[in-house]
Symmetry: C3
Subunit: 139 residues, 3 copies
């Protein structure tokens, strides 16, 4: 059985943001599913999806600060510079973190660990809203 | 058709560890499946799953050493420091490597390449056992 | 419903390469599928698959140049050196980018964003052809 739906995530400032509730509120049918997989796919090349700690916001801040050191703006070897200094690092960060997530479904819920939440990582300074294709495949 | 099961991976020292046999021994039904996908999902935010070289243990050592240079402990911009110097790097490494794997199933086996094995990357100094949700989706 | 097929990607020079057309031409059945997922899995440990910008080739060049800075050859802590200076960095880059992609299918097409394309990242100097297992799971 399949259910596929577009979700729109709100425009967020550059950084990593907890989005578990926004995703779940767009998929009320989850409550009826016993076993399956949820696939989330962001249709952009300068934002990414991941899973990490859902409690202390410092984790998201440290992650963003580290990404900015590991993938700096204005590296001397960048040639793709016309879209602004935040653009090429955003592409690289998106490749490293990835555009999609697959999460198991069990007994009407995502089978996340206690401390896990879904992150939207916005790598542009002004990325705007972000489109995500959610695909539920279930028994 | 679906089969979902919790696997428990043994407590391992910090580093990258070959876990193909541990995963396969927890999924004996694989031998009967002709086509499908295995999804593995680690329910933690400071350990990760990946696939890489299954032969020379130096590859796993070099990977761990590189991760420790690329994502150092005690970076001056870390604010999430109360859980120890290994904690925030563990979260970042988990984001970069990722919490899940999807592997094709073919003719009763995982369709891995000759040199591929499943790695558990333990990013904490004392991470303990790790829970993995295995979901088999098959014809 | 399932369809699984081996694809062979052509030998490419070291770097990141747009492969959307090569993948699609190997999967003509996609045109008949209404909803599902395409899973691509590269059976190697020194090349990887990702999704990023499909327009300006400078993005692929900058990505490759950045990977070479972030994961250098000849790091003093590498012990796995017998297969050449490009080998151990190739393993690390493969872990960071990952061996597989899952992409939603909608109305006979991959539900990619306007600017998204499939990349083969070849991390070896002379990697040769690369095997990819494509698995279509659909309604």
């Amino acid at each position: 059985m399949w259910l596929q739906r577009n979700l729109t995530l709100p425009a967020m400032p550059r950084g990593c943001h907890l989005m578990t509730n926004e995703v779940l509120s767009g998929l009320p049918e989850l409550a009826d599913l016993q076993v399956g997989l949820l696939h989330l796919f962001i249709q952009h090349t300068s934002a990414s999806l991941t899973i990490n700690e859902n409690a202390d916001p410092d984790v998201r801040g440290d992650l963003e600060r580290h990404l900015n050191v590991m993938v700096p703006e204005n590296a001397p070897y960048y040639e793709h510079t016309l879209e602004g200094p935040d653009d090429m690092p955003a592409h690289i960060k998106s490749v490293l973190i990835g555009p999609s997530l697959t999460i198991p479904i069990r007994a009407g819920r995502l089978a996340l660990g206690t401390w896990q939440g879904i992150y939207l990582c916005e790598h542009r300074d002004h990325g705007g809203t972000r489109r995500v294709v959610a695909t539920l495949n279930y028994d």
